[in-house]
């Protein structure tokens, strides 16, 4: 797990660099889920053979965290660093929200509330085929305002999609305010009420993420929701829990400071 921390710092820095280069927003949202992404892609829990799409699958339903996903895909060698550096530039397929033309992206996202249903469809299809692989969908807390999330939640439990795992990046911020204030009901109770296994963890603690996912993989009947309590902008003190970084982009000097924090 020590190695995981090192990788997550590299991915954090890479993500900040991409945001700076492309002048692209949503950095805070990308940073809050870096630890989650790192465990998904770089621990021994899942196997991605993304070109053939035959093994475990990952869907970034909160597509606005694309820069963090692309950084993972580059470190995972699904895409080259040369391609990664084209992020957000004219004529690049690496747009600010992911699409299927990118190696390692199986589902195009960006409009919130779609990824969980897509994951349900894939998981149902694999259940019919008697496959045992796992499918992981990462949602944002703001995304759980969408009605379609709860349509998918009811569908997944009724169809006993035990191979489906949803992670909620609960940084308690959405674009314009505190998630808990903007949308009512308690996150944990909602998923429980919809018939899911629910775990509530520190979503910036790679060990807790790892253990929760390991447990989720063993579920026999129910789909699993892991509420990952995270800090928006995690890892860079001057960004942490500051919602200005939903849209702000780091300057050249700020990037130097970030490099010092993360890469030493």
């Amino acid at each position: 797990m020590k190695n995981i921390t090192k990788i997550s710092n590299q991915i954090r820095f890479q993500t900040c660099k991409l945001s700076h280069q492309a002048k692209a927003a949503h950095l805070g949202s990308a940073l809050s889920c870096v630890d989650i992404l790192t465990v998904i892609f770089f621990s021994d829990l899942f196997k991605f053979d993304i070109r053939k799409n035959s093994l475990d699958k990952f869907i970034l339903s909160k597509g606005h965290a694309a820069a963090a996903l692309y950084s993972c895909l580059a470190f995972k060698k699904f895409i080259s660093f040369k391609k990664l550096n084209e992020y957000g530039k004219n004529n690049s397929v690496l747009e600010e929200h992911p699409n299927k033309k990118i190696n390692g992206v199986i589902c195009s996202t960006g409009s919130l509330g779609h990824g969980l249903s897509f994951g349900c469809g894939i998981t149902l299809g694999e259940k019919i085929k008697n496959l045992k692989n796992k499918n992981v969908v990462l949602l944002s807390d703001g995304e759980c305002n969408e009605g379609s999330i709860w349509e998918a939640a009811g569908f997944a439990s009724s169809k006993k999609l035990n191979n489906l795992i949803a992670l909620i990046d609960f940084n308690n911020w959405q674009a314009t305010g505190r998630s808990k204030e903007i949308f009512g009901g308690e996150m944990k109770k909602k998923w429980q009420a919809f018939g899911w296994n629910v775990m509530d963890i520190n979503g910036n603690n790679t060990k807790q993420i790892y253990n929760a996912l390991k447990k989720a993989k063993k579920s026999k009947k129910k789909p699993t929701a892991i509420i990952c309590n995270t800090i928006k902008g995690k890892g860079i003190k001057f960004m942490e829990d500051n919602n200005n970084w939903h849209y702000r982009v780091p300057t050249k000097n700020e990037l130097k400071v970030i490099e010092k924090i993360l890469m030493q």
């Binding site: 299927k100 779609h114 897509f118 349900c120 379609s148 349509e151 998918a152 569908f155």
Partner: protein, 308 residues
């Protein structure tokens, strides 16, 4: 038409077990046999059309050929972003089936009318739009849709439609309108079961020395532009008949093709469902009459067109 749909679906699933039927809590009795014969190929998704649509996309990603089935208005408008982003943007072979299209559910009111669906869906790339005119044509076109593996919207009527192809055999092919009557003075273009209203007028028209040609445009998208150009070259007087809003349907497509040819001097008249919410329409017959889609109104339009 829906009974035929259920029947042919059972038949085709016997040969192709990749077919998965997703229902939005509808068609209980209708699909009883299907469910019995193919329990792993049917899933009731509840009254949650948006999720159903994206679930279908996910199933298609996994190699299946999913079909979503519910009342047209709910399966198109509630789900339009899912159709755009999850099915068409990702180019996945999902068939979206709408039942009771147009004014099929006329007496259930505006909530159940679907007269804007073609206009809205025509603007989404990768989507084919197919409208069979009767059950025989549905039987001919549905296997072709499955074979095409393209995202498709299949616009069905409800039940007990009068056949358009009685004794003459339907051999419609996706992508090419079918000529169902050869005439000369005027040319009628339409789709769906409203064409039956036109066919019923043939003998009356003959008494008035009008011999219309009738084309059945079962494929609204991709529209066959060369075929429309040929029709516009051959016939000066065109009537477009559609159970759809006056905007965004076949009349628009034919008109824009005519406009693109500067030397075309056709007169194109349209009968359609207007551009107003329909309240108090009553049954299909009464609603068609109110909108000018009944036989008598169409007859008057054809006479008018012929006199121009």
């Amino acid at each position: 038409m829906r009974n035929t749909f259920a029947k042919i679906l059972s038949k085709l699933t016997k040969k192709n077990n990749k077919i998965i039927l997703l229902s939005g809590d509808i068609g209980n009795k209708l699909f009883d046999n299907f469910k019995k014969d193919h329990p792993n190929n049917f899933y009731n998704c509840g009254v949650a059309e948006s999720n159903m649509t994206t679930v279908a996309a996910g199933l298609a990603f996994s190699g299946f050929q999913p079909i979503t089935y519910t009342i047209t208005s709910f399966n198109t408008l509630k789900t339009i972003e899912q159709i755009k982003l999850d099915i068409c943007y990702q180019d996945l072979p999902v068939i979206i089936v709408g039942v009771g299209s147009g004014l099929g559910y006329s007496n259930l009111g505006t909530t159940h009318h679907s007269i804007e669906d073609i206009g809205l869906l025509s603007n989404i790339p990768n989507l084919n739009i197919i409208v069979p005119t009767d059950k025989q044509e549905l039987e001919i076109l549905f296997p072709q849709i499955l074979k095409s593996k393209k995202p498709t919207f299949l616009r069905l009527g409800k039940k007990n439609e009068k056949p358009v192809y009685d004794s003459n055999k339907c051999n419609s092919k996706i992508g090419k309108a079918t000529q169902i009557l050869r005439g000369k003075n005027v040319c009628i273009l339409g789709y769906g079961n409203i064409l039956r209203n036109c066919i019923d007028l043939i003998s009356q028209l003959k008494k008035n020395k009008i011999n219309p040609s009738i084309y059945n445009f079962h494929t609204l998208k991709p529209i066959n532009k060369p075929q429309i150009i040929k029709i516009l070259e051959k016939y000066r007087k065109i009537l477009v008949v559609e159970e759809h809003n006056k905007f965004g349907g076949l009349f628009n497509r034919v008109s824009e093709i005519k406009t693109s040819k500067q030397n075309f001097k056709n007169i194109i008249i349209s009968v359609n469902a207007g551009d107003k919410f329909i309240i108090g329409g009553g049954d299909l017959k009464n609603t068609q009459k109110k909108l000018g889609l009944d036989k008598n109104s169409i007859l008057k339009k054809i006479k008018l067109l012929n006199s121009l």
